[in-house]
């Protein structure tokens, strides 16, 4: 299908974009367009105007800022994968991005776009939550920082205000005994997952000291499984017990590919897959 009619505004700087957005409630930001344009082509939404931020300079920088790696909103998935700093300091992100769509889509799709969109099936929002990342937003009244955990509210619902633009994501460094391990089940390489898990593990020798489990493609947003994580620390992998616990703390929502029961099953076995990866 073809997109409905909308007007187009090419923002030259962040202030331009913020001002425009604050004046028109129905206008939406266009970054890489790899989620927005399919939605428009399918006529799932009909904005008044697309505010194209993709030409704004310096919004794609990847750099170290204090205790954080700062990824500018407009860095494409390919930019991040090919960046030396990321390969050195946050190599797990490169492996995760290999699972995001296909090369031609990663060449356009942006880090900020994926975080701002908050697709519950997407890898990066769950990654940001598991990493305890900070999200930098800019609006009429200046900048503010929101913790990724507080940013996601519900299905495609975030803390982003109507005059705000996401400008960067700040990831804290992992210490030598912390690991971010991820796995997902999908029908085809590059497809959205049927269920996926980001686990931040803190080890004391081979014993798990601390564990955060954050699921994607399971519910309405990145789902944190706190109680289940405690069970894993106490008695490692017990399918029935973990499944029961997951069922009680996540509201699994089925989709076209898998029912909620299927997702619950996959979420449970993903814990085993993660533990196996940890032992390797």
């Amino acid at each position: 299908m073809k997109a409905p009619d909308f007007s187009y505004f090419e923002a030259q700087n962040i202030q331009d974009a913020i001002k425009y957005k604050s004046e028109d409630d129905e206008a939406v930001i266009l970054a890489g367009g790899q989620s927005l344009l399919p939605a428009l082509n399918m006529r799932l939404s009909s904005p008044s105007c697309l505010i194209d931020i993709s030409k704004i300079n310096n919004l794609n920088e990847i750099k170290i800022e204090g205790d954080f790696i700062n990824i500018g909103a407009l860095a494409t998935h390919s930019d991040v994968m090919n960046n030396d700093l990321i390969n050195e300091k946050l190599p797990c992100l490169v492996d995760i991005l290999k699972m995001v769509a296909h090369a031609a889509i990663r060449n356009k799709g942006t880090h900020g776009g994926s975080i701002a969109y908050g697709d519950p099936a997407a890898e990066l929002p769950a990654f940001a939550v598991a990493m305890d990342a900070e999200i930098v937003l800019s609006g009429l009244s200046g900048q503010r920082i929101v913790n990724a955990k507080d940013f996601y509210r519900g299905l495609f619902e975030t803390d982003l205000k109507s005059d705000e633009i996401l400008i960067a994501i700040r990831y804290p460094f992992l210490s030598h005994n912390q690991h971010l391990i991820f796995d997902e089940v999908c029908r085809r390489h590059g497809d959205y997952a049927m269920a996926g898990l980001m686990a931040r593990v803190e080890l004391d020798k081979s014993k798990i000291n601390n564990l955060d489990l954050v699921y994607f493609a399971t519910g309405d947003k990145p789902n944190i499984a706190q109680n289940t994580a405690k069970l894993v620390i106490d008695d490692r992998y017990d399918y029935e017990k973990l499944k029961k616990s997951l069922a009680s703390e996540i509201d699994f929502a089925g989709d076209l590919n898998s029912s909620s029961e299927m997702k619950l099953h996959l979420a449970t076995i993903l814990i085993n897959k993660i533990l196996n990866k940890l032992e390797r």
Partner: protein, 158 residues
């Protein structure tokens, strides 16, 4: 600061300059190219899934159904019609040799993805080739012959 429903843009396609042409803002780049007679760029899904519309924009492969024509302002584009250099001639010959086309619908996208594989200079295994072309659907060949053609192209060129 004003928004419009059509914009004037300039860009180049296969070395030919398009100066100050008017495009509707809602038109994607694939439709614009096809409206100019460049029908080698195919449209299957218009949602990024099938890969038939893949073109090269400023040196990287992109889905032309997921780029607005208005966003192409100032860019340099190559479509399948522009594949006349020595490298792509060899790739095309290998596709012919291995019967990697049947109906040909997927071929422009497959060739574009092959171009990106070749320019990465990596020696890929057959499994890796399959993973690289996982974003391009082919409903005819069963992929085997396409992997053969890409494998031979990598060996021959890189």
């Amino acid at each position: 600061m004003s928004a419009k429903n059509s914009v004037n843009i300039s860009f180049s396609v296969n070395g030919e300059n398009f100066e100050d042409v008017t495009v509707p803002t809602r038109q994607h780049l694939a439709d614009y190219l096809r409206s100019q007679g460049l029908t080698g760029t195919h449209l299957g899904c218009e949602q990024g899934a099938c890969g038939a519309c893949t073109i090269e924009m400023d040196g990287v492969a992109v889905r032309s159904c997921l780029v607005l024509a208005s966003q192409a302002n100032g860019s340099s584009i190559t479509t399948v019609e522009g594949f006349d250099d020595e490298v792509m001639q060899k790739v095309k010959n290998n596709f012919l040799k291995h019967n990697a086309f049947q109906c040909g619908f997927c071929s422009p996208g497959m060739l574009m993805t092959t171009k990106e594989i070749i320019s990465s200079k990596k020696k890929l295994s057959r499994d890796e080739i399959r993973s690289e072309i996982s974003g391009n659907y082919c409903r005819c060949t069963g992929y085997q012959s396409i992997v053969d053609a890409i494998e031979e192209s990598i060996n021959e060129i890189n």
